[in-house]
């Protein structure tokens, strides 16, 4: 059989979880990461990252709305996914994920965004004309109360929502790791460390994404970039990445030392079929590369322009690296046989339901949504800073 080396069981030759399933943890990871960055400002009062606060919330929302789409496209019958809510099976991790998702979307993210934007929404509802006015009117939910004490209450409630939101974001993405980590038949996935590794890689990619989006939006708006903010975000990127990398290395060292019956097979796979995507792209290009760049920026002082370029480079490499990590987890976990005697190959189709084209479209969609959200709820607050 083409692409098969050694022995595969018949049901292992073709991969069941495709490129779309790679996107799913990648996208939810960006959601969780962006939200956790936003929470930093809110809960831990890191003033410096404030310029990215609203941006991070909108990023999280844009990606969260797209997160279930790869799954639905993969399964084929999107209308059936609703049945998961109607008659959930309590032993199904995926069914429960539906509720985690819904909780996070409605009770955490939408609520926090609403509370944060209420003053703007009310202002737009009063000043805009035409259709937009009605949209904002609807978004006020019928209350235009902006008295100082009501805003104070909003702030307090928003704080509580964020505090609930952090564990929720952890849950959202830890859960994705849990789904893989609990596939006990697959030694590549089955480790209790999986949710934790997923979580930290999620934070890393989310922070990198917000950093890139921040710089790009500022460039497009021809507004000066707040370097204090960028430095701080980059610092957090560095810290979370160090933790993420340590965890992944811990996993690796543990596996190598434990060397259970799957090890030879997995080791062989990493040295052959996954060499490019795992060792070259994920570890060297996507992890050690950005870590080195970020470390240098922490140790030495550079001019603003150079710093900005270094941060952007590091963030883009990070995004590539985390994508490669998702790829290696999802695809890598299906390339070897449960008999440990053979390997198969995965060839991405192009214009097919689970091909490259829909995957690219799904990766562009969050940015379109992000653009629409930014138009609807402008995150820029410079005018406030100057007013104050």
């Amino acid at each position: 059989m083409s692409g098969v080396e050694g022995f595969m069981y018949p049901n292992e030759v073709e991969l069941q979880w495709s490129l779309l399933i790679v996107l799913y943890p990648y996208i939810t990871g960006l959601v969780a990461g962006a939200f956790i960055l936003a929470s930093l400002e809110r809960v831990f009062k890191v003033e410096a990252v404030k310029p990215t606060y609203r941006l991070a919330l909108l990023t999280a929302l844009a990606f969260l709305l797209v997160a279930p789409l790869p799954l639905q496209l993969h399964l084929g019958h999107p209308e059936r996914s609703f049945e998961m809510y109607l008659t959930p099976h309590r032993s199904s991790a995926m069914a429960m994920f539906g509720f985690v998702y819904l909780w996070y979307l409605t009770v955490v993210l939408l609520l926090e965004i609403w509370l944060e934007y209420r003053p703007d929404i009310v202002r737009f509802a009063q000043t805009r004309t035409g259709v937009t006015r009605w949209i904002y009117k609807a978004l006020t939910l019928g209350s235009e109360n902006l008295s100082p004490s009501s805003l104070r209450i909003d702030d307090r409630v928003g704080y509580v929502v964020t505090v609930i939101g952090i564990p929720s974001a952890f849950l959202l993405h830890g859960y994705v790791g849990f789904i893989f980590g609990s596939v006990k038949a697959n030694p590549w996935w089955s480790t209790p460390l999986m949710p934790v590794v997923f979580l930290f890689s999620a934070m890393t990619s989310g922070i990198a994404a917000v950093l890139v989006l921040y710089v790009i939006s500022m460039k497009l708006r021809k507004t000066p970039i707040d370097m204090r903010c960028l430095d701080t975000v980059a610092k957090y990127l560095f810290y979370t990445f160090v933790i993420d990398f340590s965890l992944e290395m811990l996993d690796l060292v543990q596996r190598t030392y434990e060397a259970d019956e799957s090890f030879r097979s997995l080791d062989f796979m990493v040295h052959t079929r996954l060499w490019l995507s795992q060792v070259v792209i994920q570890i060297f290009l996507g992890t050690l590369g950005p870590l080195a760049v970020l470390a240098v920026t922490q140790l030495r002082t550079f001019s603003e322009t150079l710093r900005r370029r270094l941060y952007i480079t590091a963030s883009l490499l990070t995004l590539v690296g985390i994508f490669a990590m998702r790829w290696n987890v999802v695809i890598g976990g299906q390339l070897f046989s449960k008999s440990f005697l053979g390997y198969t190959t995965y060839k991405v189709q192009f214009a097919a339901r689970e091909g490259l084209l829909p995957a690219i479209a799904l990766m562009i969609l969050p940015f379109v949504l992000f653009y629409a959200l930014v138009k609807l709820l402008p995150p820029w607050q410079e005018h406030k800073a100057t007013e104050a």
Binding site: T106, L110, L141, S143, I153, D154
Partner: protein, 152 residues
């Protein structure tokens, strides 16, 4: 206290939206979940009837034996005695039900035999297996072996 209530009144609105959404969900759920859901397990009992209506694809070899006496005898005398007819011929229920109009296509021997006999480290050692390319030299298997009784 009154002012506090007034200034936090707007918070009741998203809560109301949420509760309304939940209520709609519960109503829809009550309306669309089929009766007796879960009676036998986590599915609609009516699904069983739907599945029963699917036409069977396999006839089972008892049926084949009733008509194909010759092949049955040949097979019984050889090593393929315990290989079911439809393992090689594929599902043939339509043919068994209407042999006049439905004539099965014969198996593609070049692919068929290798499916079970291609040499593979994972198969039990005593299972007859060959490296087909070397063993037959590209000649189709049934020039030498008779499929129903493969012994030469």
């Amino acid at each position: 206290m009154n002012r506090f209530l007034r200034d936090s009144g707007h918070l009741a609105r998203p809560a109301l939206v949420l509760v309304a959404g939940l209520a709609v969900f519960l109503v829809v759920r009550g309306a669309v979940i089929p009766k007796n859901f879960g009676k036998y397990g986590h599915y609609r009992p009516a699904a069983l009837d739907l599945i029963r209506q699917h036409p069977a694809a396999f006839a089972g070899q008892d049926q084949c034996l009733a008509c194909h006496d010759e092949q049955a005898k040949t097979r019984a005398s050889g090593k393929h005695a315990h290989v079911a007819c439809e393992a090689c011929h594929g599902p043939q229920a339509p043919h068994a039900a209407d042999f006049v109009n439905v004539k099965p296509a014969l198996p593609d021997v070049a692919a068929l035999c290798a499916r079970c006999h291609e040499n593979d480290a994972a198969k039990p050692k005593n299972f007859p297996q060959v490296v087909t390319a070397e063993h037959s030299g590209g000649v189709v298997c049934n020039t030498c072996h008779q499929p129903h009784n493969p012994h030469l």
